[in-house]
Amino acid sequence: MANQEAPRKGFADALIRLGEKHDNLVVLDADCAKSNMTNLYKNRFPERFFNIGISECDLVGTAAGMAVAGKVPFANAYANFLTGRAFDQMRISVCYSNNNVKIVGHNAGTSAAQEGATHLPLEDISLMRSLPRMTVIVPADAVEMEKAVEAAYYHEGPIYLRVGKLPVPIVTKKEEPFKIGKAIKYREGSDITIISTGIMLDESLKAAGELEKQGVSAELLHIHTIKPIDKEAIIASAAKTKHVITVEEHSIIGGLGSAVAEVLSENQPAKLRRIGTNDRFGVSGKMDELLDLFELRAHRIISTANELLGHRVTS
């Protein structure tokens, strides 16, 4: 089995490495420092860590002030409470003011697991994508997370970074370059394009491999930056395959699926299916049970591909 690591661990490691180099990097949390692993940064740089308490709106506003004062703040909280509650603070104090604040939404997707619906962030990408000037990054695993944190620090402007809590397989490569806004092609193919984001890269790789065995040539694009999205890569691939499937650990409304639909319908109409959660709330369950329940699995990608291509499926 592939190596597993919690994305939040990659996040914390990268943050500390950057903190060693740059003393303008400050970190804030909203009473979830243990869970978000920002307490590792706190232990290393106690004077550059601020626990604002259970006050997400206050957290984002304070981070904006720190940016005004010339620092590069990383504001951390659970993704739902951060993006839902502090949306207006992000809109006005961060984005409209164009402040260099990094918003870090933790417990991403199904990694909130047994906490259930209130804690499962399935709409955060959608919310963040709608904000002018916001860059939205959803890494696939702990290795890519480290590169994303680094890129976020050096990027000038607001960023939303989505970080998962529980261990997931490492599927990306250390040496693979990471550039904000640039898709990564994991497989060449000619029949269908699978576009994944976040941890769904793992299931998408499995699905593409299985499809190959079935005689379907699948191209696989990994989109770690949902905004700005890599239009050229999407258009070029769709022009070739004419069939596209998006896969995300998020609602199909407003996230990757919507972003790709916008690009395709205006530039390169293609047959499209969006895989994600279907306009519903989560429930409590182990992460694997939730991925099964929502059918965020390779088998669904495979059956969707065959359906889209008009193949009769024998199972």
């Binding site: 626990n51 308490g53 697991a113 259930g116 619906a117 409590s284 939730l290």
Partner: protein, 274 residues
């Protein structure tokens, strides 16, 4: 006035039973929040068994009293009290956090009898309690509205927006219960962002304040009675409690805020709660 000897005995047994449920449920799930559940056990038990005007056979009855668990993570104590009160079978408690069950990590107002609102995003409960309080006044109903809030949760601005609303509208039918266990997720509340002089804060906002030992069933009972008697303004019960109360190794530490006991730890806990 103290409970009678029999009543006192009843609550001693009930709170022990509920504490046993709490540790068993979190052990079953392998996750959950024992600390803030154990601290709220007396407050919740006396409220539901002595004061709340509810009917487990008719949970949606219009004129019932409402309860809002604003600190929604404390489902182990909430579900246990509801089950013991008869809202659903006690055996169902052992489906806590199961993917195919309805006893989710945080309460779902739609699916669980006795749960009046979904919660789990801290800070929202008191506003909802005010909504019921305002409509009770409008409808001329005697129903009361209770809301339990964590001390760390008081850091959410919405709590104080709501506290102003309660006082402004003289909602004497609204009662806020603060589980003042001095600890939140990361640390002691005073180390994260202090809520010192809490009585003065609520009084300054126009509330009547009762400060009690939240593990003394007699004091808890008297506090709810005083809240009912107090007219013209809302009452805040500031209950000094111990996070993790009743299980020695869970007491007074943030370690057991959101962690479940393993089988070995469960056994020790159950011995202490025998």
């Amino acid at each position: 006035m103290d409970f009678s000897k029999e009543k006192g005995e009843f609550y001693n047994n009930l709170t022990k039973t509920i504490r046993r449920h709490i540790v068993k449920m979190t052990n079953h799930a392998g996750s959950g929040h024992p600390g803030g559940s154990l601290s709220a056990t007396e407050l919740m038990s006396v409220l539901f068994f002595e004061h709340m005007n509810v009917d487990p056979d008719n949970p949606d009855w219009q004129d019932r009293d409402c309860f809002f668990l604003s600190k929604g993570h404390c489902t182990p104590v909430f579900y246990s009290v509801l089950a013991e009160k008869g809202f659903f079978p006690v055996e169902e408690l052992m489906t806590f956090r199961d993917v195919d069950g309805r006893l989710h990590g945080h309460p779902c107002g739609e699916h669980i009898p006795g749960v009046d609102i979904s919660s789990g995003s801290l800070g929202q409960g008191l506003s909802v309690a005010n909504g019921v309080g305002l409509i009770a006044k409008l409808d001329g109903s005697n129903r009361r509205s209770y809301c339990m809030i964590g001390d760390g949760e008081l850091q959410e601005g919405q709590v104080w927006e709501a506290a102003m609303t309660t006082a402004h509208y003289n909602l004497d039918n609204v009662c806020a219960i603060i589980d003042w266990n001095k600890i939140q997720l990361d640390d002691f509340v005073e180390n994260v962002k202090g809520v010192k002089n809490l009585g003065d804060k609520f009084r300054a906002f126009g509330w009547h304040v009762v400060e009690i030992d939240g593990h003394d069933i007699h004091a808890v009972n008297e506090a709810y009675k005083e809240a009912k008697r107090t007219k013209g303004r809302p009452t805040a019960i500031l209950a000094h409690t111990v996070k993790g109360k009743g299980v020695s190794f869970m007491e007074d530490t943030h370690d057991w805020h959101g962690m479940a006991p393993n089988d070995e730890q469960l056994e020790i806990a159950l011995k202490e709660l025998a």
